[in-house]
Each structure stands twice: as structure tokens, then as C-alpha cells.
């Protein structure tokens, strides 16, 4: 770079000749040079600013553009996502405790029409009528030829029907995929499973929502994609359930009952291994509820959970257990049982007159109302109420079924002494068979409370102690004697040491009072009695055994043989070895001392 000299010789010499100050020239040139330097610096600064500005502009521009893109674009699944559990947008299966499928899904198709696109709606309607004879011809023709733009023709069609519709060849008939819930076992365990139907529907998919039973109670869980296709494992054993339903249906027919229910429960965990309620239905084609005066007439009614009845003498065990627990009586204590027992304007009678005095053991074995009422008087109303509440007999069962909250026990609002007396032998307080099964589990399992559950449980925390282990042992002995020599003598199954208690309650007439010839017969049993594993509660509605000269309606004649047959069939299925010889019974008599 050539610098311009500050003191150019020519100008200096000229200035000197003119007598001017040559410093002025230097100052002038210096000023010019400074001016030029400033110009240059400003230019560079401006360029830098511009570059920085451009940089920031493009950076913000990129961010803004990306934000706009994200906001405006349709959300899509990550295309090339890395490994991870695939999200399964399918309703989870339901299986029994051994993994047998109780409910699963099947992909079928739905058929819909877009009449605008149809070539020959009349012909298509005729052809559709041939494939689906249950359609309404006039309505179909009217819909297809009218102004509608869209209509559903069938919600679910089979592949064969789909092919037939394809063969009509009308472009206005279209198919959408449909996931459908199927129950491969038909009516088996129908009340537990409930059923499912379609919720919101679109052309490409439809929501499957549970309508009753576990399908409804676990609807959210079953639809949750985060479970990764894990099935819902129930505590039900399919083989036991099938055997129970078969025997129960036979027993119901034989005993001329209009309904029947049975529950098998694990006494330690509260798991329900089988639960049947007859009449039943097929959840694949769940019938619509029929409004009727008596809800129990409907096959949809789950008697085991929703049916609250006065359960009769099966409640006597609770009164005796509490009295023993409180130290008021022991199995040998003699109670006055002079019949009838008059209390105010009420008279309490026994089925037969059992004499003036009975021991507590005999009261249970012979099922004396008077004896139990006297024991209830010893306990007192307040304590009795608290005890029954601690057994869970005053609240709906917490079992995981949609119907469970409707099975609320009918508890007397006031609890005077006469109520305490009637409740002690099972009248005046209505509960469901499931309540009874849970309470009996507590009676025989060593005295701790169990919570009924329909889910397979690996480990269940032990409930609070309701009665002592010793009282429980006495109750086991009493229940065994009822079957060995008492009212439930038909209930003995060789090898399985069945113990139990019968209950025959006259049904409540809605018009007031009780029916004379309608009995709810209940048999609450446990087996094997030396170390109870299962509680079986069987109940027959309005059963009568007509082989004798007059119909016999007590549970000992109707329900007990059915319950015994169920135990005979299911105990081997449960893998219970029969106990041969008198040793087990001998062990039982020891605990009475």
C-alpha cells in the first residue's frame, strides 16, 4: 500500500516559496487520512453488524419455521423408532388362572353403504336381503334410494358374508375393520365376564367397551395400551367352573328350583375359583335387560353377587362363634330351648321341638332358632352388630365386578333385642351368597378376614384377626358335626371331611310377611375340615324335593345333596387327595377339649 505522504515535497516547497506555513499542509493531510481511516472502520463495523443480523435472522427463521411445521403437521408415529415394547391398541384378553382364554378379540368387518356411489340400489338391496334375511326390506330400500349419504348396514359380518357382499359388486357397499370381542366358552362364567359392546364408532375402527362384569370393572385396564398385550388373569379355574355349572344345572332341574348359585372360594386368599349363577346367558349375544318387577328373573342377574337374601340358619355359626370368642359359652354349655320362645309380641319357634335344654354343639347340629336367639341375647345387639360388620356383612362386597356395589346387604335400621335374636338365625338381615362365602372363610381359616377377589393373587396380605385360632378350630369341629350327624347329613363326601351349615329361609313376600312355600335353601360348606382350603356356598331358589309324600323344602333335602355332588366332582379337579381312615376325624375331636 502506498501511503500518501503527509508532507509532499512539491507542496512544501511551493508553500515555502509563498511564505505559507508548511505545517498547515501536514495538518490538512493528516485530517484527510483520519477521515479515510474512520470511513474504513465504519464500513467494516457495518458489514459485521449485517452479517450478525443475517445470522440471527436465519437462526430465528429456522426455529420459527420448525415450530410452524410442528404446529401445522399431522401427528404421526415415529417411523423408524428404536426397539421397545410395541403398543398394542387391542383390548387385552381375559384368561383363567391357568391361562385358558375366557375372552379374546377377533377381527371382523362391518358393512356400511354410501348410497350416492351406488349403481343400482334396488338390486343391491334385494341381494343384501338374501345375505342378511334379518334386515328390514322396506327400510333398507328407503335408506339406499333416499338422500342419506351414509348408513350402517351390519356391525359385524363373517368373512363368508363379506365375500357374498363383494360378489354383489356395488361400489357403494364398503367394509370397515371391526374388532369384536368373543367368549369362546359360551355361557361359561358368563356373569363374571359380563360382556362387551361397541362404544363410539368410526368407519375405520370402533371402541369396544365392557358392559358388565369384569369387562366393565376393568374396562380402563383392558383398554390401556401400556399393558403391552398382557392378559387379565382371573382367579377362576375353567375346569372347576365348568364342572360346577354342570352339576348345579342338574341339581337345579332335579330340585325344581327356579334359580341357583354357587361360589367356591379359597379360604386363605379370598380368590373365587368358581362362581356360577343360573339361569345364565351367552355373553357373545348378551340379551338386553328386560324391565321386570323382580330383577332376579332376568338371566343377567348375578345371584351370587347381586342377590341379597335372608340366608337363614347359616348365620347361626356367627352368633355361636362370637359367643365362644367372648367367653360367654363353650361347646358344652347348656342353653334353655323351651319352645316357643315368647319375646314381647313375637314368638320364636324351632322346626321341631328339640326339648327344653340343648348344648351349644347340639344347637348348631340340630339348628335350633331358640337356642341361637338366647345366645344372641347374651351377646347383646351392639356387639352383634359390630361383629357382623367386621365380617363385612353390612357393606357391599369389594369384589371386582361392575355389579358388586348393587349387592348391598339389607341391614335393619334399628337393632333392638328382637332384631338381634332374629338376625342371629339369619332373618332380618339380607346378604349375598358371596358375603356368606367370605364370612365363612374367616370362620374356618383360623379367624382372619379375607377379601373376596376375582383376580389371581400371588400374595395376599393377611387380613385382621376377627376370631381367634382356637375359636376357629371349635367352629370347624361344629361344622363337621353338622354334616357328620346333623341337618346336612347328605353333605358328606367320603374322603373330603366336608363341614358346613344349612340355612332354609322363607322368602320375603314383597306384599309383606313371608311366603309359606317359597324357600331359599343355602348350604355353606368348607372342606377338608381338618385343614380347610375351600369354602363352597350353594344356594337354590324355591327348590322343593318331591320324592316323598309331601314336598320337602329344607336345605338339608334340596341344597345339601347338590353341594355335596359339586364337592365330589370338583375336589379331585382341585388336586385334593382324599383322606382315608378315621385319623382326620380323630384329630378333630381333640380340638374340642
Amino acid at each position: 500500500m502506498i501511503r500518501v505522504p503527509l508532507r509532499p515535497l512539491a507542496r512544501i516547497l511551493g508553500a515555502r516559496q509563498k511564505g505559507e506555513n508548511p505545517d498547515a499542509i501536514e495538518r490538512e493531510n493528516l485530517a484527510i487520512r483520519h477521515e479515510q481511516m474512520r470511513e474504513k472502520a465504519r464500513g467494516r463495523a457495518e458489514t459485521r453488524l449485517l452479517v450478525m443480523g443475517l445470522l440471527f435472522f436465519s437462526a430465528f427463521g429456522v426455529i420459527g419455521a420448525q415450530m410452524g411445521l410442528l404446529a401445522a403437521s399431522e401427528p404421526t408415529e415415529p417411523h423408524s423408532g428404536t426397539a421397545g415394547a410395541a403398543i398394542l391398541a387391542q383390548r387385552a384378553d381375559i384368561t383363567d388362572r391357568d391361562g385358558h382364554i375366557l375372552a379374546t378379540n377377533l377381527v371382523t368387518h362391518s358393512l356400511y353403504a354410501q348410497p350416492q356411489q351406488m349403481i343400482d340400489p334396488r338390486h343391491s338391496a334385494e341381494e343384501l336381503m338374501k345375505i342378511f334375511p334379518d334386515l328390514n326390506r322396506e327400510r333398507l330400500v328407503r335408506d339406499l334410494t333416499g338422500t342419506r349419504k351414509f348408513l350402517w348396514i351390519k356391525r359385524k359380518i363373517s368373512p363368508e358374508q363379506m365375500q357374498q357382499v363383494h360378489d354383489i359388486g356395488d361400489p357403494g357397499l364398503l367394509f370397515g375393520p371391526r374388532e369384536m370381542r368373543i367368549y369362546p366358552n359360551g355361557a361359561l362364567a358368563s356373569h363374571i365376564l359380563g360382556g362387551a359392546g361397541f362404544g363410539r364408532e368410526g368407519v375405520h375402527s370402533a371402541e369396544v367397551i365392557g358392559t358388565a362384569g369384569v369387562e366393565r370393572a376393568f374396562d380402563g385396564w383392558l383398554r390401556d395400551p401400556a399393558n403391552g398385550g398382557k392378559p387379565l388373569e382371573l382367579s377362576i379355574d375353567l375346569a372347576v367352573q365348568a364342572a360346577m355349572e354342570e352339576v348345579l344345572a342338574g341339581g337345579m332341574k332335579l330340585m325344581n328350583a327356579k334359580g341357583a348359585t354357587s361360589i367356591l372360594m379359597d379360604v386363605h386368599t379370598g380368590e373365587i375359583l368358581a362362581m356360577a349363577s343360573l339361569p345364565d346367558f351367552d355373553p357373545n349375544t348378551r340379551p338386553a335387560p328386560v324391565p321386570s318387577r323382580d330383577p332376579s328373573d332376568s338371566p343377567l342377574f348375578n345371584r351370587a353377587v347381586q342377590g341379597v337374601y335372608e340366608l337363614g340358619s347359616t348365620f347361626k355359626i356367627f352368633a355361636v362363634a362370637q359367643a365362644i370368642e367372648l367367653g360367654l359359652v363353650n361347646p358344652g354349655t347348656v342353653i334353655q330351648t323351651k319352645s316357643p320362645l315368647v319375646w314381647g309380641r313375637f314368638r320364636i319357634k324351632d322346626f321341631h321341638n328339640y326339648g327344653d335344654h340343648l348344648s351349644v354343639t347340639e344347637i348348631i347340629v340340630k339348628s335350633s332358632n331358640i337356642g341361637t336367639a338366647r345366645i344372641a341375647l347374651m351377646i347383646g345387639a351392639e356387639r352383634q352388630k359390630a361383629f357382623l360388620a367386621s365380617l363385612g356383612l353390612t357393606e357391599p362386597t369389594p369384589v371386582e365386578l361392575a355389579e358388586a356395589p348393587t349387592g348391598r346387604p339389607i341391614v335393619p335400621s334399628r337393632w333392638p333385642e328382637i332384631t338381634a335374636m332374629t338376625v342371629s338365625y339369619g332373618h332380618g338381615l339380607s346378604a349375598s351368597p358371596l358375603h356368606l362365602a367370605a364370612a365363612y372363610s374367616t370362620m374356618v381359616n383360623g379367624g382372619y378376614k379375607v377379601t373376596p377377589t376375582i383376580l389371581k393373587a400371588d400374595h395376599v396380605p393377611r387380613g385382621p384377626q376377627i376370631i381367634s385360632e382356637k375359636t376357629s378350630a371349635i367352629i370347624r369341629s361344629l361344622m363337621r358335626q353338622v354334616v357328620a350327624r346333623g341337618t346336612a347329613s347328605f353333605g358328606d363326601v367320603p374322603g373330603y371331611l366336608v363341614g358346613g351349615k344349612t340355612g332354609s329361609a322363607d322368602k320375603v313376600n314383597p306384599a309383606g310377611g313371608y311366603y309359606k312355600d317359597k324357600v331359599m335353601g343355602t348350604f355353606a360348606s368348607a372342606f377338608p375340615m381338618n385343614d380347610p382350603k375351600y369354602v363352597l356356598v350353594t344356594s337354590l331358589d324355591e327348590a322343593s324335593e318331591n320324592s316323598g309324600s309331601e314336598p320337602r323344602r329344607t336345605a338339608g333335602w334340596t341344597t345339601v345333596p347338590v353341594g355335596a355332588e359339586i364337592i365330589r366332582r370338583i375336589a379331585p379337579l382341585l388336586g385334593l387327595r382324599p383322606q382315608v381312615g378315621p385319623s382326620a376325624d380323630a384329630a378333630l375331636t381333640l380340638v374340642r377339649n
Binding site: T104, I182, P184, N185, P494, P572, L573, P578
Partner: protein, 137 residues
């Protein structure tokens, strides 16, 4: 020196660009392949579900009960009874065959049986061969 650096840089940029181009296409090809596999898996899962449902349907207790009733003459099956339980020592096992020590070659030495079906078939084949040999003699 400087120009060599420039040339090298330019060459490496070109090389990287080529590599990136190839990787891009390879990735897209893999994604297409994964998509195909995914849809195949979905299809297979669906048909597996159908097969499971069918299996459950064919094994439903009602049907098995009917089949047992139909085939009662051939396989007299009855519900399991409690007297079918027995202690292990009540089971009649076939008597144990004692191989005498003095005849170590009485039984031909065999290796462990890994596939019983194939082994028995091979035995049957050997027998047929032996019979054929006897005929020839």
C-alpha cells in the same frame, strides 16, 4: 503446501458427501424393510390371535363333554373320582430287569435315548433288515 490442504479438504468433503448420500439411501431401504416386517408381524399376531381363539373354542368344556359322550364306547372317560388318587407305592411299575454282571455283552451297548420315536423306528427297521437277511440265507 496450502493448496495441497485445500485439495485434501475438498476431497474429504466430497468423500463425506458420497458417504452421507449412501447412508441415507441405505437407511431408507432399511426403513422400508422394517415397515414390511412390522406389517407382517402385525398380520401374524392377528392370525395367532385367531388361532388361539379357535383353539379355545375347540377346547371349550361343552364341546369336550359332548365329544366324551360321543366317544364313550371307544374311550370310556368319566369324571375324575376321589378314589383315583393313590400313593406312589401303590402304582404297579413293571419289574426291573437285572442285567447279570457276568454277561457284559448280553445287551448291546447303546447311547442315551435322545429321540424315542426315531430310535424305535430305527429298531423296527433293523428288525426288518435282520428278517430280510434271514430270508436270504
Amino acid at each position: 503446501m496450502r493448496s495441497i490442504l485445500f485439495v485434501l479438504t475438498a476431497l474429504s468433503v466430497m468423500g463425506l458427501a458420497f458417504w452421507a448420500y449412501r447412508e441415507n439411501y441405505a437407511t431408507q431401504a432399511k426403513i422400508t424393510e422394517i415397515d414390511a416386517l412390522r406389517s407382517e408381524i402385525a398380520q401374524l399376531t392377528e392370525s395367532l390371535g385367531v388361532l388361539k381363539a379357535e383353539w379355545a373354542y375347540l377346547n371349550r368344556p361343552d364341546r369336550l363333554r359332548d365329544l366324551v359322550a360321543i366317544n364313550f364306547a371307544r374311550l370310556p372317560l368319566l369324571p375324575m373320582q376321589s378314589d383315583q388318587f393313590a400313593a406312589v407305592d401303590q402304582v404297579d411299575y413293571p419289574p426291573e430287569v437285572v442285567v447279570p454282571e457276568s454277561l457284559p455283552n448280553a445287551m448291546p451297548a447303546r447311547g442315551p435315548v435322545t429321540d424315542p420315536v426315531e430310535t424305535s423306528a430305527a429298531l423296527a427297521g433293523a428288525k426288518v433288515d435282520a428278517a430280510a437277511g434271514a430270508d436270504q440265507e
